[in-house]
Symmetry: C2
Subunit: 294 residues, 2 copies
């Protein structure tokens, strides 16, 4: 374009306060440039990390990301889902296949979900992480392990549950307590698992926040971590390094999963179906685990 006309056009645009109509543009080019990321709840640092990874990966391709949770923080009340004009949907930690119909045939990739649900899934090696955690406790000599697990049904929780049961079989006693992630529940259930007789010498938690509840309960019961009770968390939230003693926890590649999910989704939108490798998880050893008292 000639610089002269370009200038003329730009001035006219400014004078008329011209704003391109993005809806019309989307209609014409047949894409909105936006994908939706759906989480169970908003206020969880793990999901925030997934989101950060997804958002940055999407931005690299000029795609925007908006978020929507399906529950409020108490984890009870379902929240309405926006039926929006979107290029794609990325769900995280949701197994509800009924929910997936909300978006008809818009491209959909699931993070941290059952890979057998017909939706391309990007997953972390949840089983491997759990295995490392259990093996760590067994190798320290623990013979009675508590498992403060999620009462919610989900692929992650299911696989973790299975691994913990299988791996402890004939090697240690296992005491399970199911809980919601709501703080009040977690606090009560943490006390319950520490109140079992005989008491477990170590507790495995589905989540770092639950580990906080266990610390809290231990404190109330006059037990010391890790002298009286070892604790292992999951997610490696920033919080984990600030607890005293610092929390041994399973690190999950949250950001990486978010970024990877977006790549698979964008590929899917372009018509290509990609292979999805399991993302690596590692046990981060800190101060909250040691051998049980003899």
């Amino acid at each position: 374009v000639s610089p002269a006309t370009a200038e003329k056009v730009e001035r006219a645009a400014r004078e008329l306060r011209y704003r391109p109509n993005l809806v019309a543009r989307s209609l014409r080019i047949e894409r909105t440039g936006t994908v939706l990321v759906v989480f169970p709840v908003l206020a969880n640092p793990f999901f925030a990390q997934v989101h950060a990874g997804a958002t940055r990966a999407a931005a690299e391709q000029g795609v925007g990301v908006v978020v929507c949770p399906i529950q409020d923080e108490d984890g009870r009340e379902p929240l309405p889902i926006p039926s929006q004009t979107l290029d794609g949907v990325l769900t995280c930690s949701l197994d509800k296949s009924q929910l997936w119909e909300t978006w008809g045939d818009t491209p959909h990739v699931a993070l941290d979900s059952n890979p057998r649900h017909g939706v391309p899934a990007v997953n972390m090696d949840v089983a491997g992480g759990a295995r490392q955690a259990v093996d760590h406790l067994l190798s320290l000599g623990h013979k009675h392990i508590g498992f403060l697990r999620s009462e919610r049904e989900a692929w992650t929780f299911g696989t973790r549950h299975r691994v913990v049961r299988d791996r402890t079989r004939r090697r240690a006693r296992l005491t399970e307590v199911a809980t919601s992630f709501a703080l009040a529940d977690a606090a009560g259930n943490a006390e319950r698992i520490l109140g079992v007789h005989p008491r477990p010498t170590a507790v495995l938690c589905e989540d770092d926040n639950l580990a906080v509840a266990v610390y809290h309960a231990a404190h109330r019961l006059g037990l010391r971590v890790p002298e009286d009770i070892s604790v292992v968390g999951c997610d490696d939230l920033p919080l984990a390094r600030l607890m005293s003693p610092e929390l041994t926890t399973i690190r999950l590649p949250a950001e990486e999963m978010g970024a990877h999910g977006i790549k698979v989704l964008l590929a899917l939108m372009a018509g290509e179906r990609q292979r999805c490798p399991l993302l690596e998880t590692t046990l981060v050893l800190r101060e909250s685990t040691r051998a049980p008292r003899s």
Copy 2:
């Protein structure tokens, strides 16, 4: 419509797997039925409550809500903002007027923000809440109050800061420490404020999470709450009732603000400008405050 034709149409629709194109529909009716809610960060229960209120109020009018944070959890890295096709924008706890230009002239209401920024603002009585908290401590007889405040500039923090300074003037000594909300910072700064000589007998925190950090620091320094140090939080997160001792904190009407914000926004979209009353805040007295040792 005749039931016969209706049936015929519906069958044809099913057979052809017809999906209405929402973009085309939006172009024609000139609205998308979606508003964007923007928060500083994702993983904060306070914002989650605001979101729940906003989402439910919007759903009542058939409007969907999507969310977007402008920072990642560390509070450092800015995240890209989706420039989307939206009917309106609700920002929460953001003062950055530059950011507001992102949405051109789409209707915009600001929550918890400076009312003098030309954008309709729905606010809580932050000043009143802070006043109650300070007065409570003064009436207990505290003569040296610590204020663990946010280092970020924002309308809320500014007003609270002003109230705390004005209200303590000539009535108590005031020791201020500014901090970010990042856990590592908070932990360090909590220790700093308790390390001051002479030590404050009470600490006021910008946020319940900061109060957790203060509890933590107190514990490390061998101080007991509230015998050695009184603590007051802000937000009344679910967490507050689970701390031991239970936290005295300023309750902010988060859900109400979200719902009210949506109402004002929808009215604005319809062309009406509404008055915005200050939403009530109350100090919730629990166990973390008492008179100082004499």
